[in-house]
Symmetry: C2
Subunit: 337 residues, 2 copies
DNA sequence: CCCGCACGGTATATCGATAAACCAGGTGGT
DNA sequence: ACCACCTGGTTTATCGATATACCGTGCGGG
């Protein structure tokens, strides 16, 4: 920058003012500076600016894994909303381990950004309670979090209930929840969704059979596929499957086919997340739509509030879910049409 | 940091030395400093460190879209390799537009990182030729690039040829290339893969029918699905489809089913990319595996070379492809087994 | 005629860390 | 006895931009 200043015959500060579109610079001087700038191919040093001004113009999204479709769709959505506002999004992977999430959350890293969207799965209440980040932060996700954080989550229980009710209405009676886990030390996505499943079954007078809650480790398609295949081949009777995520449900459809069962005739399947691909696999996957756009809008609103005036009272927002019916479920039995 | 120094009764520099594990600090002093550090909850300021030292410890991956599975799988792979080496990966989305790619490439942004992996699709040869980034950079992708860049790409032509040959061997005669574009101002992924398709057909004595090269805009599943459905319903005869990507191929399978055709009996389908989901959709998608791991290894090796000693001669690496056969294609007709 | 203020711009201190030079005291070799 | 060198530090300058205070000049109002 001092090169530019010298070449243009002005002071450092004037160059800075020109580059930041600040007033108090004559039109002529401004022009001359701009000329010199692109003659020398000068580009501002963001590290220095950040050191002095404290702003970076970038927001970070921290997700457990890049290659879980839910997160990559989320990232794309957020980036698309942020870009027109002149904010840059960078995405980091925390690896879903508590260790790596903590290190991603290290204040040092967070300082780098004007705001952080954290989709944590490995951290529990206590971890979050110990940390006092001084960066605007919004938590996305399902675990319990201290009140002082802003937070957006989906209607997990409601969604799973809707999905299960739909399966019941469509005639399913032995409904498994693949990836569901009824009791867990710390409640998380899989717990809440299993809870919705249990509620719906009880409401329908079907008591939830614990052997129909099939836990998973990684919630990957491959894992889901082999899990359901093995159970069915081992004699488990099912006529409905609620996958705790769409990826799990996609795995379930593949596993059921492996076992010689046909979707939706023999077994009906519902997922959760309404991924873009879900419309196109098999007969089309019936899925719970978590209201992606609304979630993103809420999260960014909360983030912006914090970024603008530092003193906002924390909000916990729950997005509205809706069931999207496709070919992996049949028609409701008492549908007269 | 000066607070820490004062509280520990040492100089700034000693604190810095402790924090960076440098020698020349007594064990006792080191301990005392560390105590004070976590008593005060001090965290180093990365912006300042970066300003002074020039290093950031982070590498950036710039992709067109987060929500194209190919890129999210790539990102996850790279992050997994980098993490154990103490390097942090952040991913940015360029939006696949030339404008936004250029702005992502603005030197100012690039300066922020120790290295950049750029998966460009919007930039052409001339754009890249005009730019002279002084950050280590490796290009991933298919377009032509100036020699001075390091670059890793896949064997597009070869892969598409393999795939098409396989379709021919399995009895297909009217093979469409969905997403393929035979002539284009700047060659890109779709062009190269269409080229492989044409080569294989010619080698088999089947002249490539231009009406069987069906271009796409976005290469999304939905677009691919409706494109193939419309063509088939419009009377186009096909018994094989090469999707230029797996997402396109997945769309193709759905579209063919829409049109009442069965895969692989009526029409065989092959994709390109070997996504993780591809194994699990429909009868399993036969696909060209681009050698993900090898690509990542090459790219990171090239990046590291540049990061270590500034003077390496640019390399252009082509990764090896291999066909993975699954249920969306039949058995070769002259398979005696 | 003098005061006050807007305009266009400059000088300086500063953000927080680190590289480099420097320094005191002890130790071993010759 | 003297020099060289290691150990465990400290001091100082610096990275590049920006916030803040400041300074002439010209002009309108009282």
């Amino acid at each position: 920058m001092s090169d530019v200043a010298r070449a243009a015959g002005v002071s450092l500060m004037t160059v800075s003012n020109v580059l930041n579109g600040r007033p108090n610079v004559g039109a002529e001087t401004r022009l001359r500076v701009l000329e010199v700038v692109d003659e020398l191919g000068y580009e501002i040093n963001l590290a220095a600016r950040r050191l002095r001004s404290g702003r970076t113009g970038t927001v970070s999204l921290i997700v457990p894994r890049f290659d879980h479709q839910y997160y990559s769709e989320l990232a794309a959505r957020i980036s698309d909303v942020l870009a027109p506002e002149g904010l840059h999004l960078v995405v980091e992977q925390s690896g879903a381990s508590r260790e790596r999430e903590l290190s991603a959350l290290s204040l040092a890293r967070l300082q780098q950004y004007d705001g952080v969207l954290l989709s944590a799965v490995g951290l529990d209440f206590q971890d979050l309670d110990r940390i006092h980040p001084d960066v605007p932060i919004v938590l996305l996700g399902e675990q319990d979090v201290p009140d002082r954080y802003h937070r957006v989550k989906m209607g997990n229980v409601t969604g799973a209930r809707l999905a299960t009710e739909h399966l019941v209405e469509c005639g399913a009676r032995r409904i498994a929840v693949l990836g569901g886990r009824l009791e867990a030390p710390h409640p998380e996505m899989a717990t809440y969704r299993a809870r919705g499943w249990a509620q719906a079954l009880e409401a329908a007078g079907l008591s939830p059979d614990p052997s129909l809650a099939i836990p998973l480790e990684s919630f990957s398609i491959a894992e889901a596929r082999s899990a359901i295949r093995e159970r069915v081949q081992g004699g488990l009777e099912v006529d409905g499957v609620l996958g705790v995520t769409d990826e799990v449900a996609i795995g379930a459809m593949a596993g059921l086919r492996d076992a010689g069962l046909v979707v939706p005739e023999d077994v009906q399947v519902v997922g959760f997340d309404n991924l873009r691909v879900s419309e196109h696999v098999g007969p089309g996957l019936t899925s719970v739509d978590p209201g992606h756009d609304a979630m993103v809008a809420h999260a960014l609103r909360l983030l912006r509030q914090q970024m603008d005036n530092k003193g906002t009272t924390p909000e916990h927002v729950v997005s509205e879910v809706a069931l999207v019916v496709r070919g992996s479920t049949r028609r409701p039995v008492n549908d007269r049409k």
